[in-house]
Structure formats: C-alpha cells, structure tokens
C-alpha cells in the first residue's frame, strides 16, 4: 500500500520499506534518533529526496494537501487553531460516536480546549486524525499521555482502522503495546533502520 524507496531523511541512512493494507508497524528508537523526522517525511511535511508511493502512484502525482488527506501524520503534541474541539472537525453525525468510543463525552466537543486535560486533548487529536478515513495513519506516540483504560480505547480505534484496510505506522516506547498492536517493527539505531518481527 505505502512504499518508500531510498528516502533520504536527515540523520538516517536512505530508508526503504513497504507497508501492506491493514498492516500495523511499530517504529522504535531512542529519543532524537529520527522517528518523528521519518514520519514527517512520509507525510510530506518536510522536503526530502527519494520516492514514496501510495497504491502504486508516486507522491508527486498528487498535490501536497491531497497526499496528506490520504497519508495522515498525527504529532505527539497536537496543534489546535480553534477554541473548541468541534471547530476542528467537519460537521457529521458520526463525530459524537467517534469521540464516545474513545471515552470522551459529546459535550466535551464544545468545551474550551484549555479546559481539557492533556490526555483528553490527545484523544481528540486521534479522533481528528482518523475522522476522514485516511489510507495511512502515522501516529507519533498516540497514547503517550493516556492512562491504561484510555490507552485500550485508543488501541481499539486503531485496530478498527486496520480492520477497515488502512495501514498504521506508530511510535511507541511500550513493549506490551507493540505486542498488542504491531505486526512488524522498525528500529532506528545509529542512523540505520532495521525491519524486525515482534
């Protein structure tokens, strides 16, 4: 589904790998090793050399916004531009169901973002990332600020995306979570990316 060929990310040797439809890959490595830079490069948020393909067509065939509607990056620290979470979503009935599935109340969609906890904001950001059903999800520590219960709810949502045929690459430092979610793992060590089994 998603294929990288000799993508040259700063601080890493040229990266090549592929992710299949419905596959979940965990990205591991020490802090500052280049995990975020790699995810941003795949989402076309920073200019890099190399080729990235989605379902056979090269990235350059699509405009930047069209690419990012299909290949979605969700940052570890989500950014907001409106006052309330609802302003960050297109109007749709399924929105409330989606946030409820993450353990959030519908009323929280209209609360000021500054009154939500870090974990609640992170779950809102996850809902925002999956809302328009992108083909590939690049999740940078999606459960970093969540407690055990909320983590399970977030993982269920990720699994539903996989079941629907979407691919997921996520960064996590939790070995147990890797076992629960990932089919394969990519490890960055000393500027090299290695593909491994869980």
């Amino acid at each position: 589904m998603l294929k990288l060929e000799n993508v040259q990310v700063h601080g890493l040797e040229p990266v090549s790998f592929a992710v299949a439809r419905g596959e979940c890959i965990a990205l591991q490595g020490p802090s500052g090793s280049g995990k975020t830079v790699l995810l941003r490069a795949i989402a076309d948020l920073d200019p890099v050399q190399g080729h990235v393909y989605l379902e056979g067509s090269e990235r350059s065939a699509l405009s930047g916004p069209e690419w990012r509607k299909r290949v979605r990056y969700a940052a570890a620290e989500p950014g907001w531009w409106g006052e309330t979470p609802r302003e960050h979503f297109a109007p749709a009935e399924r929105l409330e169901k989606l946030v409820n599935s993450l353990g959030l109340k519908s009323a929280q969609l209209d609360q000021s973002l500054s009154r939500l906890s870090t974990g609640e904001r992170q779950r809102m950001a996850l809902a925002r990332a999956v809302f328009d059903q992108p083909s590939v999800l690049l999740l940078d520590e999606p459960t970093g600020a969540l407690d055990a219960k909320a983590t399970i709810q977030a993982e269920r949502l990720i699994k539903r995306q996989l079941k629907a045929g979407h691919a997921v690459i996520f960064v996590s430092h939790d070995p147990a979570q890797l076992k629960r979610l990932a089919h394969r793992k990519l490890t960055i060590r000393n500027g090299k990316l290695r593909v491994g089994r869980i």
């Binding site: 948020l45 200019p47 916004p65 509607k69 950014g79 531009w81």
Partner: protein, 270 residues
C-alpha cells in the same frame, strides 16, 4: 481677508530653533540618560540629510526631466526597501529579504503616484518633479510602515503558531488555509496605523503636508483638499502594499507542496 505671503527662513532662524535641542541635552545630562551623543548625532544627521535633499530637489526641479525624476524616485524606493528589510527581526533568507519589500514598494509607489499625479492632479508635464517626488515620498513612507508591520506580524505569528499551522497542513489544508489566521492578523496589523491616523487627522493632528502648505501661504481650504487627496492615496497605497507583501510573504513561508517552510527565515542571531 488677505493671504499672508511666504516668509523665508534664514540660517540664523534655524540656529535659534536648534537651541531647543539643548533642553533635551540638559535633561539627558541631569538625569544621566547617556543619550547626549546620540541626540547630537541625530540632530546633525537630520539637518545635513534634509539640507542635502533640499539641494538635490532644487536641482531636479530645475531640470524637470523624466530621467532625473525617475532616477531619484527609484533611489527613494531602494532606500525604503532597505528600511523595510532592516525593520524585520526574522528576515527571509537570500534575495527575498530585500526583494519582497522593495518590489512591493516599487509597484505600489509607481501606481499610487501615477494615479495621483497623472490622473487626478494632472500637472503639465505629467512628470513634474514638484508633484511626483513629494507624493511618492509620502506614499512610500506610509506604505513602508504598513509593509514592515505586516511582514513582522506574519513571520512572528507563523513562528509562534507553528504547531497549529502544521496540524492544519497535516490534515490536508492548503497553504493559504493553514496560514489564514497569521495572514489575517498580519493584514490587520499592517493596515491599522493608516486607519487610525485617518480617524485622528484634523482633530488630534494637523498633517505635516497641510501645515507646510498653510505656512507657505496657501488657502487652508485648498491645503485641506490636497491633504484629503494625499491621505486617500496613502490609504489606498498602504492597503494594496500590505496585501501584496503579506500574501507574497505567506507564499514564501510555504512551498508548492503546501509545506510550512520556516527554514526560509534567517535565525535571529543573524
């Protein structure tokens, strides 16, 4: 009611007025502000610069040649462009640092001056420097302020709101959608001074040009008409200039793949 004629000033008159600067100097010494030296340099610079431009203008007015008029006009634009660049805390890298402001000032200055002088006032010949150069100067001075404020707001807002802008980009927004908040804020800030000054003109402050004309013996009502014309030219020029510079600046802060490119700004240390 007879109109008073113009009274020429002697250099002695100017020397007497300069004595007022001494008050500032004394204040600086008494309160140990340490600005006496800067004050004297600034006063001398102002006098020398104005005297020099007085002689240059006198020479150019005598020539009444389109080449001399446009030559000096271009110099004014280039200096204004340099000033617009100097006022930025985070400049664009490379040629654009100078090119964006100067290009906008050149376009807007030319347009507003040609419209004001060529179409509305209509002197003969149309390039009469006595009309073209002062009006160009006033349009440039005010547009320069608007552009500088607009670009400064754009870059500082983009830096401050980087995470939110990139979140929008990551969700598939185009560069202008993602930057809309920063762009709007920059446009507003750039246009505010001229809007505020229009509201206060005539009540709080009598504009310099109108005061100059009145002192030179022109009927106050006639002087007012000129001031209204100039103010409209300045307001139009500033709005157009701010619009061009901020939209151009937004384009430069992003690329054709709609990515935010803050790496196109110099580091603050430069």
């Amino acid at each position: 009611m007879s109109q008073s004629s113009y009274i020429a000033l002697s250099y002695w008159d100017l020397a007497m007025a300069a004595s007022l600067i001494l008050i500032n100097g004394i204040l600086s010494v008494v309160f140990r502000l340490g600005i006496e030296r800067t004050l004297i340099v600034a006063a001398v610079r102002m006098t020398v610069q104005l005297m020099a431009i007085g002689f240059v203008l006198k020479f150019i007015f005598i020539q009444t040649s389109p080449i001399w008029t446009f030559g000096l006009g271009l110099c004014m634009v280039f200096f204004a462009g340099r000033e617009a660049m100097a006022r930025q805390t985070r400049r664009y890298k490379g040629w654009w640092a100078y090119g964006l402001g100067t290009g906008t000032l050149l376009f807007v200055g030319l347009l507003a001056t040609l419209f004001g002088v060529g179409v509305i006032i209509g002197p003969d010949p149309w390039y009469t420097p006595r009309f073209v150069l002062p009006i160009l100067g006033m349009v440039l001075g005010n547009t320069l302020t608007g552009i500088s404020l607009g670009l400064e707001t754009l870059t500082t807002t983009a830096l401050r709101e980087r995470v939110a802008i990139e979140a929008r980009i990551a969700l598939g927004a185009t560069r202008f959608e993602a930057m809309s908040s920063a762009t709007r804020q920059a446009l507003k800030t750039g246009m505010m001074p001229i809007v505020n000054s229009m509201a206060a003109t005539g009540i709080v402050a009598l504009p310099g040009m109108m005061t100059g004309q009145i002192l030179a013996g022109i009927d106050p009502v006639e002087a007012t008409k000129y001031q209204v014309l100039i103010t409209f030219l300045i307001a139009g020029g500033t709005a157009f200039g701010v619009f061009l510079a901020v939209l151009g600046g937004t384009r430069l802060l992003t690329d054709e793949r709609h990515r935010l490119r803050l790496d196109r700004l110099e580091n603050p240390a430069h």
